[in-house]
């Protein structure tokens, strides 16, 4: 088997509190293979976003990663990177699309300037070359290169989200982390964007860590899924097994509480 792109071992994260620490992530271990679409699901407060932030070292106090935790990306120890290494590591190795990514663009810069920001910080690239590359990336997400001179407020929410994804792909990262990337979008736009990501990762070969509370969507798009409950990873399996023959009682309960779109309806009072 090829080496995993992301390997997490015994990850423990606490939120330090005045009276008591909150153990947000409890001894979590999992791998993501090259080109794999991995879904991390769970309800609010289960620790899934905390893991995403830790992988890109974006966690801030009071979040504290405990000793003995290990996060490897392409074999490199992420937790041991110094500031310089970390700067090179972000965007190039791991890029992250945040929950409200459509609001993470700078409102006073044109789309072109925002591409240039990322490209110039990581590569020796001229303004003209950056412009060409940005136009290519926009075409990839089905946005006309005319938009390079637009400001974020001139683009729709779905468009802004696709622009953020294009910027994330600018340096060919090995791993794309998406934390609820489409929660604020319509189902039709959501479907378009995720379908596109699915095509890209097959063409470009990057892996995806996809975080959402929408289990149905996750089963549709992911290869493998991890289910989190109160900081613990309670079940990891391929997507179809998680759906058809879940092993953990919590996973079963989640499915039992989700109304179905077709076929036999779930029974009332499965859990109320």
């Amino acid at each position: 088997m090829t080496d995993p792109v992301l390997s997490i071992r015994n990850l423990n994260i606490d939120y330090i509190g005045a009276e008591k620490d909150f153990h947000a992530v409890k001894d979590v271990s999992f791998d993501i293979a090259p080109g794999e679409f991995f879904g991390l699901a769970g309800e609010s407060g289960c620790g899934k976003s905390t893991i995403a932030f830790a992988v890109s070292r974006l966690h801030r106090p009071p979040a504290l990663i405990r000793k003995g935790s290990q996060i490897l990306v392409g074999g490199r120890d992420v937790l041991a990177l110094d500031d310089n290494e970390l700067r090179r590591f972000r965007w190039r190795e791991v890029a992250m699309v945040f929950q409200s990514a459509m609001n993470s663009l700078n409102p006073v810069l044109t789309i072109e300037a925002q591409f240039y920001d990322v490209l110039k910080a990581h590569t020796r690239i001229s303004r003209a070359e950056a412009r060409t590359r940005a136009a290519e990336l926009l075409k990839l997400v089905d946005i006309s290169p005319d938009r390079l001179s637009s400001y974020p407020h001139q683009c729709s929410g779905g468009m802004r989200q696709r622009i953020v994804i294009a910027i994330c792909l600018a340096l060919n990262p090995k791993l794309l982390i998406m934390d609820e990337p489409t929660t604020a979008l319509d189902v039709v736009v959501q479907r378009e964007i995720l379908q596109r990501i699915d095509v890209f990762r097959k063409e470009l070969g990057f892996s995806v860590l996809f975080i959402t509370h929408d289990l149905g969507l996750m089963v549709q798009v992911s290869d493998r899924i991890g289910i989190m409950l109160e900081g613990e990873l309670v079940e990891v399996n391929d997507a179809q097994t998680i759906y058809r023959t879940p092993q953990h009682a919590y996973t079963k309960r989640l499915w039992a509480s989700m109304p179905k779109l077709h076929g036999e309806q779930i029974r009332e009072g499965a859990k109320s």
Partner: protein, 301 residues
């Protein structure tokens, strides 16, 4: 079917400038019946919430009228309008914003009782509050003195429902009541809405973008796009045998664990999104019955 207690009759509402109109409601007609739930589904911006606001009289129709018990609301007296407000109640999307953070739960439920049942004395009011909380399956003694921030999202939504029930309404408009709640909490709220319908004979309008939950609570469903209801009728018939291209597009985009992305059965609609959107956004006055209690406004294929 019994007569509609509340009906929209050819209601239109347009926003924006005259040269760039936004059609939030376009010749919308439907009726709400006691003991039944009607779901209104569509993507954001399709006009779902405008329909709710028209019913709540936050907006007045540009054209068409609202009928309450068969009588036009436009000519109603002040007294009749007060009765209307007590009869038609709303449950909002955001249970965090719908409650006042500076007041206790008791206060939230006491206020509508004071306004609409002024004859109750304080002992009777307390009893009524206890009954309301019990009805939404919360512990009255525990919850009454609490403030909204001390409650979970699901508990807050139950308070919103209890508040709506406080004035003995006949119609409840629930606008995305579960979209901000966790999966495991949603079902409890949906079951509660189903209980209210069955036990109190309420007429429910359930507004959502989550079609699976609409199927769980609603006998009838309407699909809205650009202010126009493009397909409506019996929920099972509409969802299993969608006839309008926009409904098929919406259904093909809805998350469904039974259909992998690689499954191309519905890709036809996804490949012509622009065409379907453009065509569905044009006024289509013609109505066609495609099956028993199942209608569409046909557009050119």
């Amino acid at each position: 079917m019994s007569d509609a207690i509340l009906a929209l009759d050819n209601v239109s509402k347009t926003f924006g400038r005259a040269d760039k109109p936004v059609y939030a409601a376009r010749s919308v007609s439907f009726g709400l019946h006691p003991g039944r739930t009607l779901a209104l589904v569509g993507e954001s911006g399709s006009g779902k919430t405008t329909a709710a606001r028209l019913i709540m009289r936050e907006y007045t129709p540009d054209e068409g009228q609202l009928l309450f018990r068969g009588k036009p609301l436009g000519k109603a007296s002040a007294k009749a309008l007060k009765a209307y407000r007590a009869s038609v109640q709303m449950v909002f999307q955001d249970p965090f914003a719908a409650l006042n953070p500076t007041h206790t739960i008791r206060y939230h439920l006491e206020r509508p009782l004071r306004l609409h049942q002024p004859k109750l004395n304080s002992k009777e009011r307390t009893a009524a509050i206890e009954e309301l909380l019990t009805r939404v399956k919360l512990d009255p003694a525990l919850l009454m003195p609490k403030y909204p921030h001390e409650l979970s999202g699901g508990q807050r939504q139950r308070i919103s429902i209890a508040r709506a029930l406080a004035v003995n309404p006949q119609v409840i408009v629930a606008d995305e009541p579960t979209s901000m709640l966790d999966v495991s909490v949603r079902l409890g709220i949906l079951n509660l809405l189903n209980d209210m319908k069955a036990q109190l004979g309420l007429a429910l309008l359930y507004i959502t973008h989550d079609i699976a939950t609409a199927r769980y609570v609603a006998e009838d469903i309407m699909v809205m796009y650009a202010g126009q209801i493009v397909e409506w009728g019996d929920t099972e018939s509409v969802l299993t045998n969608p006839q309008h291209p926009y409904t098929r597009l919406l259904l093909s985009a809805v998350p469904d664990p039974d259909r992998r992305f690689s499954d191309t059965r519905f890709s036809e609609e996804l490949n012509r999104i622009e065409f379907i959107r453009r065509q569905s956004a044009l006024p289509r006055p013609e109505t066609r019955e495609v099956a028993n209690n199942h209608f569409i406004r046909p557009m050119p294929e």
